[in-house]
Every structure is written in structure tokens, then in C-alpha cells.
């Protein structure tokens, strides 16, 4: 990779465009919030607010530090030449695991719908993750062979 120097500071230009879009976007946000309160019987504002704010807090306090910790561990424990591939594999498998979490946990079983969640999601997640690992290893070995071949003798 190309070693890099820090980027220059972001230019803070908050001219008419900033305020016009803030006004239009703010109107959209206000319309949404109005709807959430106007339909309070369906939206149960206290309950959705718990999930709305809870999602941000869960990300910022639990998820982000976990990812930062994982990144730190990879940087310390994985040899430099394999690091990029390990990071790529972890990102893809992590996203797959996060998405399929409700399926693996089979939360839908309480609905008594025989056609819902028809697969063995633990096994399928394992199979897809294994395929991702194989793809990463193939990419790593292929890249290494290519670099070796192109290296001047």
C-alpha cells in the first residue's frame, strides 16, 4: 500500500447550500417526527425512541469499541503480509454474522409460521463463512504468486 500523510483539514464552507439543504432536510425530519407523534397509537413514541436512541448508544458504546478492539488485536497479532487479507475476511464474515443473527437465534419461532426461516442458518452461515475464507486464502496466495513472478530476478 501507499504510505500516506494525514489529509489537510476539511474546509468548513457553510454558505447558502448548507442552509438551504438544512432547511429542506430539516423539513423532512420535522415531517417524520410529526408523523411519529401524530400516529402515537401505532408508533408508541417512548418505545421507538428507546430503539432509535438505543441503536446509536449500542453502536457507539458497545459495537464501535468492539470493532476498534478487534482492529487493534489484528494489527498486533497478525503478521503484516497477511493483515489486509485477515481484515477483509473479518469484515465480510462479521457482516454476514451480524445480518443472520436473528435467523441463527431463530427468534421467529414464536410466530408458529412453518414457512418462516426454513433453513439451518447456523450451518449455512458456517458454509458461507468457509467459502469467504477460501476466497481470501486464494486471493492471498494468488497475489503472492503474482508478485513473485513480477519481481525482477
Amino acid at each position: 500500500m501507499t504510505p500516506d500523510v494525514p489529509s489537510p483539514p476539511e474546509v468548513t464552507r457553510r454558505g447558502p447550500l448548507f442552509w438551504v439543504t438544512a432547511l429542506i432536510g430539516g423539513a423532512g425530519i420535522a415531517w417524520g417526527v410529526r408523523g411519529l407523534f401524530a400516529h402515537h397509537i401505532d408508533t408508541r413514541p417512548a418505545n421507538w425512541a428507546k430503539f432509535f436512541v438505543g441503536g446509536v448508544i449500542l453502536h457507539d458504546v458497545v459495537f464501535a469499541p468492539l470493532v476498534l478492539g478487534a482492529g487493534y488485536a489484528v494489527a498486533r497479532l497478525v503478521p503484516a503480509r497477511a493483515r489486509a487479507h485477515v481484515q477483509a475476511g473479518l469484515i465480510v464474515v462479521g457482516c454476514l454474522a451480524l445480518f443472520s443473527w436473528p435467523e441463527v437465534r431463530d427468534y421467529a419461532r414464536v410466530n408458529h409460521n412453518p414457512t418462516s426461516l426454513p433453513y439451518n442458518y447456523t450451518a449455512n452461515l458456517g458454509a458461507v463463512a468457509a467459502a469467504v475464507v477460501v476466497a481470501v486464502v486464494v486471493a492471498a496466495v494468488g497475489g503472492w504468486l503474482l508478485r513473485r513472478r513480477s519481481r525482477p530476478s
Binding site: M1, I29, G55, A80, R83, I91, P102, Y107, N124
Partner: protein
Amino acid sequence: MSTLIPRPLEDLVERVTTDPDLPLRQKRFSSALRDPRVAAWLGASLAVLFTICFVTGLFSHIQQHPVSWLPVPARPAGLYRVTQGVHVAAGIASVPVLLAKLWTIWPRVLTFPPFRRVSDVVERVEVLALIGGGVFQVFSGVANIAQWYPWRFSFTVTHFWVAWVAEGAIVAHLGSKWFVTRRSLRRRPRRPALSEIDPALGASAEGSHAGLSRRGFLGTVAAASGVLTFVTVGQTWPLLRRFAVLAPRKPAAQPINRSARNAGVITAATAASYQLAVSGRVARPFTLSLAELRALPTESAELPIACVEGWSYSARWSGVRLRDLLARAGAPGDAAVRVHSLEAHSIYSVSFVNHIQAHDPDTLLATHLDGRLLSLDHGYPLRLIGPDRPGVNQTKWVTRVEVV
């Protein structure tokens, strides 16, 4: 910082927070991936995916909450199948993009002081709406398609209104980041790698910074989105059906969303006294027993059933044309109808069929699915099936057609 704050606390704040006027890459956040160009690419991708979800979501909303000034057409028959399939697929594809974007801009979350100017306050509110709205929409959407409901609010109503919050925040964020995004996405001549200029220094620097490059990181996020799409989109796109191993439904098994048992209709639907009534704004209201209904001329149509949860399948439906029943009752030519189910106490026990769809030759009150008598879970003895309609509006266990 004020001298009133104890020194150790001041040090701690200095160590864990970031400066809002410095670049993303600052202090302990030394990764080259904390880069405006990476943030710009991820932000632009997310804006496109969320806007696709917003537009297709609006179409789904109009389908379920009809407005008289914008009647939904009956053709193309598979339109809703495509729009809702795209809605869910774009939502799933946005999972890695959203997480990567949040990771990249994480130093901005730790900004201290939170604001220095009035415009900073505006931007903070807009970013809170964007992060909160984005995380809420993606989480609730993914949970909903897996039929996991850890909340007490109505998913469809809340998801719809939070979509306005998230989309409004995208518009505002677009304006606040327009210049930095445009500058970041502009093609720049490639800078030579340090190793090309000084091999020894380059090797040393690469050793300490090894890991994904910016391009590699963006490629990985794209790959994660691609893999997630690949293993789920077969629930609506037949071509990739065999690869949909993490999809919540299996279209080949002709899934349903609400069983007869859960709807509490088994006794009423199997009763010998079952009747279909056609009433309302008609000249000759009438009722039909099941035997009389089966004696009527039937038609067949190949139509998709497309769920709001993104899964769909096409099947051959047979039954009585709705427009034939309306003609028999002497309903006016511009008549729209409400179709009532035996199911009580459900927001989907009545569905509206506008005048275009009601008079479409393929809109049926079906008794058979793929040549077999409907099963109870599929709506026995009679269900509505029409072109370009969401599955929840293809009312099952039909007992009354009310002309309005």
C-alpha cells in the same frame, strides 16, 4: 480548556476526544482509512441505497394506504414484486456500508467541544437524525424480514415515518458535506508510492502501516454487500434462488405470512355455512354458497405474490373474475371495492381494490393454486389475487366484496 477542570480529567478528555476542525485522521486515530475520500465514497453509496429504499418504500406505502388522486396501476403485473424486492435488497446491501461509514467517521462522534458555531449545532442535530435514523431503519428492517419483533410499536407505520427522518437528514448532510465530498471524489493523479521513491524507507513504512489500503477497504465493503445480496436476493429473484441460503424464506415452498391458525379462521373457513356476499353500491346484491361459487365460470392467471418482506414467487391462480361478480351485481363501471376477510381484529382483514385493479381481467377471487384447491394457510376457500399488489393486500379467507 478551563483551568477549573482538574488536570487529570483535562488529560483524559484530550486523549479520548477529537478536534472537530482537524481531519478525520488525528491523534490516536492514525489509520489511513480515516480519510475524507473513503468517507465520501461510503456516504455517496449509502445516500444512493437509502434513497432507493425511500422511493420504493413510498410506493409500498401508497399500495397499502391508497390515495384517490394517485390510483396504483394494475400493470405491469410484477411491478410491486420488483420494487419491494429492490427495497429489501438495497436495505440488506446497506448493512456493511452503514457500518463502514460509521467506523470511518467515528472520530467525529468523539468531537469535543461538540459545537463552536450555530451551524455546528444544526449539523450535530442532522447527524444524530442520520445515524439514529440509519441504524434504526436497517436494524428494524433486517429484524422484520426475519420476523423478529423485540419492540411494541407497529413496524410498518414507524418504519415509514422514521424513513422521512433519515431521508431528510441525508438531504441536509448532502449540503453540509457537498464541497468536501466533491473534492474528495474528484479524480486525482496517482501519487507514487514511497517504496517507488525510496525502497528501504518504503519497506519500513509499509511494515508499520500494513493492512487494507483505502481501495482495498472500499472493495471489501463492496464485497460484503455483494455477498449479502448474493445469499439473500434469491428469495425474490428466481435466477439466484439456489444461492439464497441466508434468505428468511424459501420461495419454492410457496411461503405464507399468516397461518390460518394464527388468524383464528379455521372453524369459519371450513364451515358448511360459508357464503360469499357481494354488496354495497350495487343494483343487485347477492350471496353465493361454496357450491354455487364453484359452479361459476373460472379463469386462470399467472401472477406473483410479493410480500412486503421482500420475498416473492409466481404461481398459476384459478378462480372467479372479480369484474364478473361486479357485473352480476350491477356495480357501476368505475366501482372500487373493499374485500373483507373472515379474519377479525387485524389491520389486514380488509383490503382496498381500486377501480383499475378491480376491473383488470387477471384480478381473481381464487379457489385454486397451481391446479390444487387452496390450502387453509393460502386462504381456503377463497382469496383475492390481483396484479401489482402487495401480498398483505391479497386478502385471504374472503367472505364479502363491498362495492364503494
